[in-house]
Symmetry: C7
């Protein structure tokens, strides 16, 4: 594998994909099935997330609370939606 190929593969690693989503809109589903939508300010390797303009959504999608700036502890995360599907 060339250095260029290795870099390309690294850039696709799950934690790197999260790094590339910084400043973008994300949807974070937690284990308790609540969902948090907001702009990703930063994320660390444990998947601790720092969001801005965040809202809590119930399972049916309804907003239940405005949270604003919030740090979510990574061990609660089920999945994080990036890209177009995070914009709805």
């Amino acid at each position: 594998m060339s250095q260029a190929q290795a870099n390309s593969t690294m850039g696709k690693r799950p934690l790197m994909a999260l790094q590339r989503a910084i400043n973008m809109q994300v949807r974070v589903r937690l284990k308790n099935m609540l969902e948090y939508r907001g702009r990703l300010i930063n994320v660390d390797s444990y998947m601790n997330l720092f969001l801005d303009e965040a809202f809590e959504h119930q399972k049916d999608g309804r907003v239940s609370e405005k949270l604003g700036r919030v740090v979510i502890r990574g061990n609660n995360v089920l999945y994080i939606v990036l890209g177009d599907e995070a914009l709805i």
Copy 2:
């Protein structure tokens, strides 16, 4: 990335965001959905929190108990609200 840029990114990391909230009002939601509001005295990298003037709130927002000075074990934390939304 310049040193200045690196510092700026580091300062946005989730754990650094918590450090910057020291002495400010925060809202801490635990996995059991109870919420603790108070002034953040300190926090460590495991998200153990030391709060002062803390109150326990039920899911519906009602105060259920005054706790005063309290150390919350980090592994129970779901999320921590910083900034304006922590002031309500």
Copy 3:
């Protein structure tokens, strides 16, 4: 054991099997019994998964949501189906 045999055994290790499934269709069952089907972009040693064109399926197989590009936190994973059975 010869070097060739050692390489052959290593290539069959669970985490290597996941690496070989990159760019292929996979089915990921989580502990909460929800299932995610999509193309595996990358996976790390913690089983954090980065999927594209992902859909959430209920226990009965019905699609409940389109997720698109999604990072699934590895500790939620029950199992990952590779190969032909992942294509249904």
Copy 4:
């Protein structure tokens, strides 16, 4: 930050706050919502606690059992109340 300031910040870290509460009355809420009140003899970095003159209290505050000298395993801890609110 001066050395004096650094020491002052360290002294406020959650685990240091617990160290300073040694020999004082504390209230320990566990994840199962039972509460233990007693004098803190010692505590380690995992939040394992050694209490003396400890009593178990139900969620409604009633004493359910006298325990006397007891070691509580740290991973069960939800929070620890220090200071005046621990004296009730």
Copy 5:
């Protein structure tokens, strides 16, 4: 203990017993009581398992799904049956 005795004891360690079962039929019971039967391709020290020709069985033994090639995350494992009882 002689070197021969030490080798003999090591070969009986739980993780070594799993290594010796490679290419054999196994029954894997998970914490959620679902059972997976198939041929063990490989296993690592975390008990991540790579099975081929795998089927999911309900608690009563009935097959509920064909999975084919599947990687099971080790932390879900309750026990793994080796030998004759894995052949039924």
Copy 6:
């Protein structure tokens, strides 16, 4: 702090308190609320316990089973009662 004071503090640490209880009667409450009473033969830093003459007690205190010599895995422990209250 003098060396003598440091030694005195160390001797009160939770894990040291358990070491000092070796050969004494203890009451071990597990997370599932079952209780085990017996003589503590030994304990390690993970709170794995080796008891002799052990009995299992239901929540209401009734003996449900004689276990004799038993090793309890530490991660199940809620608390361990030492001293007089362990003698009832």
Copy 7:
């Protein structure tokens, strides 16, 4: 402490007690309250167990399944009964 005393204490540590039970009959209670009885072939420091001639027993003691040779993942273990009480 003399070397002889130190060896004597080490031999009583919980994990050493399990090592001494190799080739003997044991009763293994899991967190889900199912019990496995069989001859202990080997055990590691994580309490992964390798049993032979193993049977699964329901809470009421009835045999529910013959398992034969089985590896039990250590994190599921509640306790392990050694000695005479393991022979019933």
